[in-house]
């Protein structure tokens, strides 16, 4: 079996019809094809078992009423009809979208700001240090971070309000008011996730061709103008990727609000995934929980689709 693709491709180029005529070459090609399938089979099986099959099964489950303990009962689209009139669950979708938009907007803008600052540094040591520092929170356990942050944001005893009081500011009821809790959740998620966006943007900015930047400089473009009219358009595919990934993650937000606020106060930080968990595992309505999951999946697909549609006009591919 040929192990050097370059050699194989060259031989095909010079003898385009030979492979159709020579059984030995055909056998070799078949073998190679089989080897290729073998190589991707693990990934295909993984995706099928852990992604496709569960989605299909979840869709099936959404057509049943099932409390896990007794026999499931087929109810058709009744769960979907119920969802249309379920104010608290619809509200949770709204909360999810608001939080996701806040998280993505802040994560991307902060990630870009930090990346631009670091990219201007010439010292490789400084770049490496900043990359490590900003990426570190991403490695921490979300549950542990949420518990820790809950203490930090505590209105009465939290260290954040302590420092605010030192500079004469009044204590902020971070986790006990509607907007305070939403802002706290956004800040914490962004603090933990911004490292990922930052690393992507630093890599993208580094890959901007120097001759383009030199040309902009010779034309007299300011640093700000170079950033917005040269660098950002050139790295727009990376921005699209970062936006899509951040949005998908944010729409599945669970850990931080569940641990820090239990979805409160009231239902102000109750996201769709929290309602899904409560519906399924606390209220034993697994069919309806699956319905919520399917609708959330459709929302994620729709928002991702919109992002790609917008990308047609906004993203510049070299």
């Amino acid at each position: 079996m040929t192990t050097q693709p370059g050699v194989r491709e060259a031989s095909r180029a010079t003898l385009p019809l030979a492979s159709h005529r020579r059984p030995g070459v055909r056998r070799e090609a078949r073998k190679e094809g089989l080897f290729g399938y073998l190589m991707i089979s693990l990934a295909v099986v993984f995706v099928a078992v852990f992604t496709l099959f569960p989605i299909i099964a979840s869709l099936g489950l959404s057509l049943f009423k099932w409390d896990v303990i007794s026999s499931p009962r087929f109810v058709g689209l009744a769960n979907f009809q119920r969802l249309i009139h379920d104010g608290p669950t619809l509200h949770s979708f709204g909360v999810t979208v608001i939080l996701a938009v806040g998280i993505v907007a802040l994560q991307l803008s902060l990630g870009m700001f930090l990346a631009v600052l670091v990219n201007q540094r010439r010292s490789a040591w400084a770049k490496t240090t900043f990359r490590t520092v900003f990426y570190l929170p991403l490695l921490a356990s979300t549950a542990a971070v949420s518990i820790f942050m809950g203490y930090m944001f505590d209105a009465k005893y939290g260290v954040i309000n302590y420092y605010l009081s030192l500079v004469g500011l009044t204590k902020v009821p971070w986790l006990t008011t509607t907007w305070g809790s939403m802002i706290s959740i956004i800040l914490i998620v962004v603090w933990q996730q911004v490292g990922f966006t930052f690393v992507l943007f630093v890599a993208a900015l580094t890959s901007v061709p120097s001759e383009v930047l030199e040309a902009a400089s010779i034309d007299g473009a300011s640093a700000v103008r170079t950033l917005f009219q040269v660098k950002i358009p050139l790295i727009s595919p990376t921005i699209l990727f970062a936006t899509v990934v951040a949005m998908i993650n944010a729409l599945q937000l669970f850990d931080q609000p569940y641990i820090m606020t239990k979805g409160g106060p009231g239902t102000s930080t109750t996201t769709a995934t929290i309602v899904m968990y409560q519906t399924g595992f606390q209220n034993l309505q697994f069919g309806y929980a699956s319905t919520i999951a399917i609708v959330l999946l459709l929302i994620i697909l729709a928002i991702t689709g919109l992002q790609f549609l917008a990308a047609r006009k906004l993203v510049f591919y070299q």
Binding site: A57, P72, T176
Partner: protein, 466 residues
């Protein structure tokens, strides 16, 4: 089991991927599709689910194994610890295990989950076992408070053997009481006394709060609600239970007087005048700076703050004796008193006990283990260090509390008189979720009535769907 058109066997759905379906939505890690029944495999492994750390579960397992071997030489006792912030969390995880097709033989469930598990036919009534072994259990019934037995009854049947409880009493820091120039409260103190004391404690320092509490069903603003002669649900009792009261308590008819077939939680009364007044009272405590914004569930933060003398008073049960001692508080630095009287001296409690799973293939042996676990000598093996209150009165001794305190340890048991179990109907989980959400909504908005109207609506929907 198929029940006509549109119905499908539960196991079949699991095999078809019901559990996997949940995986796609991020729930699957919790809902496996296992088909093995660890307790029902025909082996003599008795599996028990325990609310706590695995290290404690293993210690319990190792401690009881020799006695279980005496019952059956081939039996192996396996205890699985399940962590959770509260009983709501614990019950959700038990149900997850059931969803995966893996059920234990014995389950330790508190009042919170009793009616839920009994109504879902997950556990078996113990009536026939109790009747059969009544003579050997007589010392147990003579010793344990009948209110605890009644709290483990549902629809006339006994579903668990209780061994522990916690009633909502009032803990206070003796140090802060001294600093505020207050004398310690008496057993007959009132809400006016409580408020006066709170106001004086708040003046000791800006860094302390006179009172703190936790958002949950047990020992929350609900303690004020009960003292205000209210409840979240209409109180009632199921008929029946005579089979037990007339036999096990034949020597003590006074104790059995008025007892029936378990508590029946009726129409929601979450937005009654008593509820609104009680919730508004704790909101006003916060507004006036006498209490901080409370945490939801658990109670670890509150315990830490109390142990560091930053909280003057809070609601706690016998479990706090060990908890505060373990947190470093010395005997004498805290004490406990009956919850203050408001419009009534009604208070609340939650009991803990053990039931047998219906799917267990070793129910007879499980019953023998249950009897073993409610023996007096088993209590400290299962709950070392005063982390709960013994249900058997003979275990309530000065010696027990000599190391941990508090001085008024008798209050723990006395509080049971006139108290009512927390209102945990079969739809407890939905009730607890709403209670947490609506309480935090009330604290955030300052409007108890609006939040309780919402809670009432939530309860009515949950009750209708149960």
């Amino acid at each position: 089991m198929t029940s006509g058109f549109g119905a499908m066997d539960r196991r079949t759905l699991l095999k078809l991927g019901g559990g996997a379906g949940l995986a796609s939505v991020g729930l699957g890690a919790l809902a496996g599709c296992g088909s093995s029944n660890s307790g029902g495999s025909g082996s003599k492994t008795i599996n028990m689910l325990y609310f706590g750390q695995q290290s404690s579960a293993t210690a319990l397992q190792n401690a009881l194994q020799p006695q279980i071997t005496k019952l059956d030489k081939t039996a192996t006792f396996k205890v699985t610890g399940i962590n959770g912030t509260d009983w709501n969390d614990f019950i959700a995880k038990i149900l997850t295990q059931i969803a995966s097709g893996s059920t234990p033989d014995i389950v330790s469930v508190a009042t919170e989950g009793l009616q839920l598990m009994a109504s879902k036919d997950l556990v078996i009534p113990l009536d026939s076992y109790v009747t059969k072994d009544l003579s050997s259990l007589q010392s147990y019934f003579d010793d344990i408070h009948p209110a605890l037995i009644e709290s483990m009854m549902y629809q006339g049947h006994l579903w668990e053997l209780p061994d522990s409880f916690n009633a909502g009493s009032l803990f206070y820091s003796t140090d802060l009481y001294n600093k505020a120039g207050l004398s310690e409260p008496s057993a007959t103190w009132t809400m006016d006394d409580f408020h006066t004391n709170a106001s004086k404690i708040a003046k000791v320092s800006n860094n302390i709060n006179a009172f703190d509490w936790v958002v949950r069903l047990w020992g929350s603003w609900t303690s004020f609600l009960y003292a205000n002669n209210g409840n979240l649900l209409e109180e009632g009792k199921y008929p029946g239970g005579d089979w037990l009261w007339k036999s096990a308590y034949k020597n003590n008819p006074t104790a059995a007087a008025g007892r029936a077939g378990g508590w029946k939680w009726g129409t929601p009364t979450a937005n009654s005048a008593a509820s609104i007044e009680a919730l508004q009272y704790v909101i006003d405590l916060q507004k006036s700076g006498l209490s901080p914004s409370p945490d939801v569930g658990g109670g670890g933060t509150l315990q830490g703050l109390f142990a560091s003398n930053r909280i003057g008073m809070t609601i706690g049960g016998g479990f706090w004796a060990g908890g505060l001692h373990n947190a470093g508080m010395k005997d004498g630095s805290f004490n406990v008193q009956m919850f203050p009287t408001w419009k009534s001296n009604k208070s609340l409690f939650g009991a803990g006990g053990y039931g047998i799973f219906k799917s267990s293939k070793n129910q007879d042996l499980a019953w023998e283990i249950l009897k073993l676990m409610v023996q007096p000598e088993s209590f400290d093996v299962i709950f070392p260090g005063n982390v709960t209150t013994p249900g058997r009165k003979s275990l309530m001794t000065a010696e027990r509390y000599a190391t941990t305190g508090p001085k008024n340890w008798q209050v723990f048991y006395d509080q049971l008189n006139g108290s009512v179990p927390i209102s945990a109907p079969p739809y407890y989980n939905a009730l607890a979720t709403s209670l947490n959400q609506r309480t935090t909504q009330a604290i955030s908005s300052g409007n108890a009535k609006a939040a309780l109207d919402g809670m009432q609506s939530d309860f009515e929907k949950a009750a209708a769907g149960a």
